[in-house]
């Protein structure tokens, strides 16, 4: 014999209409769903299937002597091998350094440039155009140019350093364990800061002029006006810019691959170069797939917490 509490009975009575209203709502919006259905289907094909295939592939070993269709099932061994390898943790640390420094410095430089270009002065348009050049230049072309600028024997930067007496011999930028990664970060920052600049310039348009004037009349210093008036208005666009730069830097490939190929001795290897090398250089398709799944989980987790913190204010307001 079963008994039912008054609360449960109440939930049952209120549940049925709620469920009906969900279906009714879906039915009422059937045209909207029909509009998004093709896009949803395309996403399933071009995203859903590859994700499924990657997950499946990550459970197999793919030796060089076997075709992919003859792959050998090994369960979670690829995952345990990767997570227990010292190279994974070394590369993870390098990826975090690469991403954090690239993102932070590009953002700060972009912010500075946006604030400077937000004022009226002669040549502002030209300067704005010039500062956009790194962003529009092909990453491949830029990487080759920077590779030659950095060249350890005949690079322009090294030669200038010798010319101006800053060094007695050409500087070894990218053939060196210690300076390899920082040198690549400089190139990445050069390439990306204009993106941050453009985003923040757009954000600056939303700062109310009268607020800034009022603060000025009240005797606020330049820093106080920036910190208490301008910056709060840039919070939203800053968060989005940082999110986009972070995702882009986690997924970086072109600059490190072309300039150093992850070398010397793995000093500039980051996640994506490592996955590429595993898959296309060494044909460890299974291991590369497992690596990708691990990265996917890490990046989704980071993204989740980031978006949560980004929208925490909205949720708090919604509760109120």
């Amino acid at each position: 014999m079963t008994t039912s509490t008054p609360q449960a009975a109440s939930r049952q009575t209120t549940g049925a209409p709620a469920k009906a209203s969900v279906w009714r709502s879906i039915w009422n919006h059937r045209t909207d769903y029909a509009y998004v259905l093709p896009a949803l289907f395309a996403m399933l094909v071009v995203i859903g299937y590859p994700v499924y295939y990657t997950l499946d592939l990550s459970l197999f070993k793919t030796p060089a002597s076997l075709q992919l269709k003859d792959k050998v099932f090994i369960g979670l061994e690829n995952y345990s091998t990767i997570l227990s390898s010292t190279s994974f943790w070394k590369v993870t640390l390098q990826t975090l350094i690469w991403t954090a420094f690239s993102t932070l410095i590009a953002f700060l430089l972009g912010l500075g440039a946006a604030l400077a270009l937000n004022r009226e002065f002669i040549g502002r348009g030209i300067l704005r155009g010039l500062l956009l050049v790194p962003w529009v230049v092909s990453a491949v072309a830029a990487s080759y140019v920077w590779k030659w600028l950095y060249h350890s024997d005949f690079g322009v930067i090294g030669a200038l350093a010798v010319q101006f007496g800053l060094s007695d011999k050409p500087i070894n930028f990218i053939d060196n364990l210690q300076t390899g990664l920082p040198s690549l970060i400089v190139v990445n920052v050069w390439k990306e800061f204009s993106f941050a600049m453009i985003m923040l310039m757009a954000g600056l348009q939303t700062v109310p002029e009268q607020l800034l004037r009022a603060a000025q009349v009240d005797g606020a210093s330049v820093w106080q006006r920036f910190w208490h008036v301008t910056f709060p208005h840039l919070k939203g666009v800053s968060m989005v810019t940082i999110l986009l730069l972070t995702v882009q830097n986690f997924n970086s490939f072109i600059i490190p691959w072309i300039m150093t190929g992850g070398g010397p001795a793995g000093a500039t290897d980051i996640w994506i170069t490592q996955v590429y090398q595993l898959a296309f250089g060494r044909q460890r398709w299974g291991a590369a797939a497992a690596y990708s799944v691990i990265l996917f989980v890490i990046m989704m987790s980071l993204g989740y917490f980031y978006v949560r913190s980004l929208t925490s204010g909205d949720r708090a307001r919604a509760v109120e």
Binding site: S65, D153, I174, L177, G281
Partner: protein
């Protein structure tokens, strides 16, 4: 009188038997050259002794009116290659079109460093071309995976004896031939005689041993402040193993036992004392003496050309085409640079690659092979076998295997050495006889599916680990040996 008639009859009979023999023979071009007599003099003596009719021969394999379609990938010539290479390729496509006007050809040139990756990816998607001309290193991998159709010289009217034994080994997997060599080359050692003289070395003598290379490099750097030897240690680039393996083998080392008379590819030699000595020699030049370019870790051989032509680099391992390339560079230089470049070209010398401590001389037996992909992996699902045969026959002929290897390599078909074009090459390409005479010292890379990873990744990684100080020489060699063991062991 009777004797005369008899001798005439015997003569006629012999001629008839010989004619019948030639008609029934699998090879239309007669016996191959005698490689046991190989020397610069022998190569000169046979050049220009045989006429060939390439189109006639290939039309006997695939009729000229055959109608079909062919897709093909090949290792493209680089922009930096001498002009004659570009011209010869243009002529080849025109000759093929003339010989087979009804075969629709879609040929795509892909760079050396991209070809393997691109083919692997295309094969996974069943989108490969019907025919591929691939670097010698790659064949075993694709044959072992079952991607290639069996293919031997006899299939297109040549004899296996017309090709280097080492080259034929490179296309064999499990006792079956899966391709035909198109070209084979060995490199040589080049140096700038003027730099040698200014550094107090004999300008006309190449270093005899690898220990001498280390000593010469240091002397040049210490005396003149420029780089001595053009070390190359970039990963994922064919240049690195082509320059380090001769050193490794000369010291008595190896990756597996590929340098032995009967390689089994079971034993790992990378951590042997001899291999470590070879690695130590590179370490001494890069770290201890700093006598080689600091950029060696990101350089390919192409990046060594600029310092060489500008007189900032004294020695390197290179193709016979390097001389033509340097002439090209000098002709494009202007002003003061031109004077320097001309001076360098006039001071270029070629010699044999140095030996190891025990007198062993070794060089990578390089080259390319042509293969036919199985239908199920080809874009469109079907290989046009006759069209593929027509292409294979033309490319591996004595004529075109020579012309398409004009400045950088040698004909895969040994019959090419007998043609008038070989004579022309010997007369026009300086130092060709030196690089050609290195061929008998050639050692092929291990003929195993894992060879590309060993040569393009593990060996350069070992060098980088030692040269950057990430590991000691000993640790780097042990680490690389372990990686090879794991790899070959199937881990």
């Amino acid at each position: 009188m009777t004797r005369l008639k008899l001798s005439r009859a015997i003569g006629h009979g012999t001629a008839v038997v010989a004619l019948l023999g030639s008609l029934t023979s699998t090879s239309a071009f007669g016996a191959s050259v005698d490689v046991s007599k190989w020397s610069p003099e022998y190569v000169r003596s046979i050049a220009g002794t045989e006429e060939v009719d390439t189109v006639g021969h290939c039309n006997s394999i695939v009729p000229t009116d055959y109608k079909g379609k062919l897709t093909m990938w090949y290792q493209a010539i680089a922009e930096s290659d001498p002009q004659i290479m570009h011209q010869n390729y243009d002529e080849f496509w025109a000759a093929f079109k003339a010989a087979y006007p009804n075969i629709e050809l879609d040929a795509q040139g892909i760079t050396y460093n991209d070809l393997l990756d691109k083919l692997r990816t295309a094969l996974l998607g069943n989108a490969a071309p019907m025919v591929v001309r691939l670097q010698i290193l790659g064949g075993a991998e694709f044959a072992s995976k079952g991607y290639l159709e069996p293919l031997k010289p006899e299939d297109v009217g040549y004899s296996s004896d017309d090709f280097w034994t080492g080259a034929m080994k490179s296309v064999k997997w499990d006792g079956v031939d899966y391709g035909i060599p198109t070209n084979n080359e060995t490199m040589a050692f080049i140096w700038n005689a003027d730099i040698f003289q200014r550094a107090g070395l004999d300008p006309e003598k190449a270093p005899a041993t690898w220990d001498d290379v280390v000593a010469y490099s240091k002397q040049i750097h210490d005396t003149l402040g420029i780089s001595g030897y053009g070390l190359v240690a970039k990963p994922n680039a064919g240049n690195t193993p082509y320059r380090f393996m001769p050193q490794l083998w000369a010291y008595g080392g190896g990756t597996l036992d590929e340098a032995s008379a009967e390689p089994k590819y079971q034993d790992v030699w990378l951590n042997s004392a001899e291999s470590k000595r070879a690695l130590q020699a590179s370490y001494d030049m890069y770290v201890r003496d700093k006598s080689v370019p600091a950029s060696a870790l990101t350089n390919t051989q192409a990046e060594n050309q600029a310092p060489f032509i500008s007189g900032q680099l004294a020695m390197m391992i290179a193709h016979p085409s390097e001389y033509a390339r340097m002439q090209d560079l000098a002709s494009k230089a202007t002003g003061a640079d031109k004077a320097v470049a001309d001076e360098v070209v006039s001071n270029m010398r070629y010699g044999l690659i140095p030996t190891g401590p025990t007198g062993k001389r070794a060089v990578v037996f390089g080259g390319s092979n042509i293969h036919v992909i199985k239908s199920e992996y080809v874009d469109g699902g079907k290989v046009d076998e006759m069209a593929a045969k027509a292409m294979v026959c033309m490319w591996t002929s004595p004529e075109w295997s020579l012309k398409l290897a004009w400045s950088a390599s040698n004909p895969g078909n040994l019959g090419g050495f007998k043609t008038k074009w070989m004579k022309e090459r010997l007369d026009s390409i300086k130092f060709l006889d030196v690089t050609t005479s290195m061929l008998p010292n050639g050692i092929p890379f291990p003929v195993i599916p894992e060879a590309p990873e060993i040569m393009n990744i593990i060996i350069p990684d070992m060098l980088q680990n030692a040269l950057t100080g990430a590991m000691t020489v000993d640790q780097a060699a042990e680490d690389a040996a372990q990686k090879v063991k794991d790899l070959v062991g199937g881990m």
